[in-house]
């Protein structure tokens, strides 16, 4: 790659576009966080200016903190998301491998069967799922949520991963077979590392709806011990709907942990993506 091919105007153009879009993407988030540190008069009087010594006020945060155990909610969300993610990726990759690697009777049917779940919102199965959880004593446990989210995430994971697994070179796998490796070893040692970028993609796809889900925590695990961050935040919004200080503080509190977590993991994510590309 020679530098000659990259002209200065084009680089500037690229930066201009990316920068513009970055501003668009971040603006609402910044507005919310910025105003959460202001007094009521400051919020309404000058929403676009950062907090000044005159308008700086933590009243929103003091209202919100002490009303609910946000750290505990956060732990719940984390446990549920990580556990579901692990099962979705493991089970999903295994199934995708079976579907893309082997020819067997019913392969296409199985693929379609596993894709069915993408097409109906799982919310519709709520009553039956809830009955199941009541009967097995799982109501108000995080296990119930993990089970539901695993099932919910699988169809998409299988769908995307089998697409990517088709791109893994056959020669490699056959070479492994000639060396006498078992199918399990081929999968875990040869194929999985190669599809890491797509695993990272699937992880993001799966993680977002789980972390942000409001419905199933509300139905399956609404107790104080098992409440997730999103459910907690929603209750807050309901409770302080006219108190913008508290609202903005609650929103910021719900945004910041995800943001921090994301910034930490985005490097892993990108490394996963790029390491797959530069092989």
């Amino acid at each position: 790659m020679s530098t000659a091919t990259r002209s200065l105007p084009r680089t500037i153009g690229a930066h201009a576009i990316l920068l513009t879009y970055t501003v668009i993407a971040l603006f609402p988030v910044i507005i919310v966080i910025m105003n959460s540190f202001k007094s009521r008069a400051g919020i309404f009087g000058a929403p676009l200016t950062p907090p000044t010594p005159k308008t700086f006020d933590l009243i929103g945060y003091t209202t919100v903190i002490g009303q609910g155990d946000f750290i505990h909610y956060f732990q719940n969300s984390l446990v549920v998301t990580v556990a579901s993610l692990f099962f979705v990726l493991l089970f999903g990759a295994m199934a995708a491998f079976a579907l893309s690697e082997y020819r067997f009777r019913g392969n296409t049917m199985m693929g379609l069967y596993l894709a069915l779940g993408i097409m109906i919102p799982i919310r519709l199965g709520t009553v039956a799922i809830l009955q199941l959880m009541v009967a097995s004593g799982l109501v108000n446990t995080l296990t119930a949520l993990i089970l539901v989210y695993t099932a919910q995430g699988l169809p998409l994971a299988v769908f995307i991963l089998s697409e990517f697994m088709k791109q893994v070179s056959d020669d490699l796998k056959n070479a492994g077979r000639i060396d006498g490796l078992s199918e399990y070893t081929i999968f875990f040692r040869l194929v999985l590392p190669l599809v890491r970028p797509s695993m990272a993609t699937v992880a993001v796809f799966t993680m977002i709806p789980i972390w942000n889900d409001l419905w199933f925590p509300l139905i399956l695990a609404p107790s104080e011990e098992t409440k997730t961050v999103t459910l907690g935040a929603q209750l807050f919004l309901g409770q302080f709907v006219t108190n913008w200080n508290a609202i903005l503080a609650a929103l910021s509190l719900a945004i910041m942990p995800v943001l921090i977590l994301y910034v930490i993991f985005s490097r892993q994510l990108i490394r996963g993506i790029t390491s797959g590309a530069v092989k």
Binding site: V127, L130, M133, S136, T141, A144
Partner: protein
């Protein structure tokens, strides 16, 4: 069948789960509610008062957001994981739960005698034989105004419609204040604070409401279209961009002192008292001519029932009897000024604004919202459609006549009044 199989399958996984360990000696009652706003009052005042008198019963108030309450409660009742005590919406919604067998019959509950037939009517079968929720409170509609603004502009409290619009014109001409704080974004504001607020004066309260149920009047009659005509006239007095103004926006607009008049429900009082920095007053919906009989919407809004599947029915009934007692009424009505007790024993209220609202019961005739009893049980749902059409009328996208016709057509498609 499949459920059983799956249950067995899942029982294995349940070992992983950690079910909440309950103290075996105590009974814990869970209250389902949409009143997240009242969380602190229940936690700090009501529940301690009950638990002090009834050792051995623990009560947990577990609200969900109002928008999800009905759907979530329905799912939980169907699956059997709902709490022991259910906060009841009035009329048809709760009646449906009772018919499905989700709510227990409470007719014989000790304490029920503390309520008048009118209070109980919101939670009774059509024949009045069974009562399934303990009435807790009603709310009254009217207008709250910024007293400082009225004084400054020299406006006196309007009693007739002409005075009302003259006041609005004066505020608008002055320009300091937005005449009226109301938005149409959330739809229900237009219907509840608008149509149901001013409507009873036109359809003459209970007379019109019962005639509508009997089929003697129609929503396309003059008395029912006229409130829409008045609503259409409100448009120029609302704030800029009222079409996207949400209910909290309206509340803030008024409590920040930017608007002069707020079409209100009495439930606003507690919040407004804490947020507004100016003096407030209230007036009932203006009548046509001075001296006309006035009608107010005094709507039975909230009650509490017993989940028929509750395993702690006895303890729950103890609790409900307490909810029916004057003790509860006194704490509740004063902690939440604007939620007026339905108990026969009069409650002494401290709040002047709440007293103003409740004083109208003496001089005006009370009625309830027209869309709740009997007319609220079909599809398309009259109450929900009234939300949509009231907003349309104020937005100017439907004429009053067109809106009324749509509502009546929808009603006709399923409701055949008993002749």
């Amino acid at each position: 069948m499949t459920t059983k199989l799956l249950t067995a399958l899942l029982l294995g996984t349940s070992i992983l789960g950690f079910a909440g360990v309950a103290n075996a000696a105590d009974v814990t009652l869970n209250i389902e509610s949409w009143r997240g706003d009242d969380l602190a009052i229940w936690k700090d005042k009501l529940i301690p008062a009950f638990e002090a008198k009834n050792p051995g019963i623990k009560v947990v108030f577990a609200p969900s957001a109002p928008t999800e309450y009905d759907a979530a409660l329905g799912a939980k009742l169907a699956a059997g994981s709902a709490g022991d005590l259910i906060t009841c919406r009035p009329f048809d919604k709760s009646l449906e739960l009772y018919k499905k067998g989700n709510l227990a019959d409470l007719s014989a509950l000790p304490g029920m005698e503390n309520f008048s037939p009118v209070a109980k009517s919101a939670w009774q079968t059509d024949d009045g034989k069974a009562t399934f929720c303990v009435p807790m409170a009603s709310v009254i509609h009217g207008f709250i105004y910024n007293k400082d603004a009225f004084d400054k502009l020299g406006i006196k409290v309007p009693e007739t419609r002409d005075e009302f619009f003259a006041a609005l014109d004066k505020i608008k001409a002055d320009g300091t204040y937005i005449p009226m704080a109301m938005g149409t974004k959330d739809l229900w504001e237009a219907a509840t604070m608008g149509y149901q607020n001013i409507g009873p004066n036109y359809w003459k309260g209970e007379d019109g409401r019962t005639a509508l149920i009997k089929g003697e009047q129609k929503l396309t009659d003059k008395d029912w279209v006229a409130p829409y005509e008045e609503l259409a006239k409100w448009k120029p007095y609302l704030g800029d961009g009222f079409e996207a103004q949400t209910y909290p926006d309206s509340q803030n607009l008024f409590t920040l002192g930017r608007a002069a008049i707020y079409p209100a429900g009495s439930w606003e009082i507690a919040l407004f008292n804490t947020q507004a920095q100016f003096k407030m007053g209230a007036f009932p919906p203006p009548v046509e001519k001075a001296g006309d009989t006035c009608y107010i919407s005094d709507h039975t809004d909230i009650g509490m029932g017993l989940n028929a599947a509750s395993k702690n029915a006895d303890a729950a009934k103890t609790f409900l009897s307490w909810v029916a007692s004057p003790d509860f009424a006194a704490i509740y009505a004063n902690a939440l000024p604007g939620f007026f007790s339905l108990n026969n024993t009069p409650v002494k209220m401290e709040d002047p604004l709440a007293q103003e609202f409740v004083s109208w019961r003496g001089k005006c005739k009370s009625t309830i919202r027209s869309t709740y009893q009997i007319l609220g049980r079909g599809t398309p749902n009259l109450e929900n459609e009234t939300w949509v059409e009231s907003a349309n009328v104020i937005n100017g996208t439907d004429t009053p006549e067109a809106a009324a016709k749509k509502l009546q057509d929808g009603l006709d498609s399923w409701y055949k009044p008993a002749k």
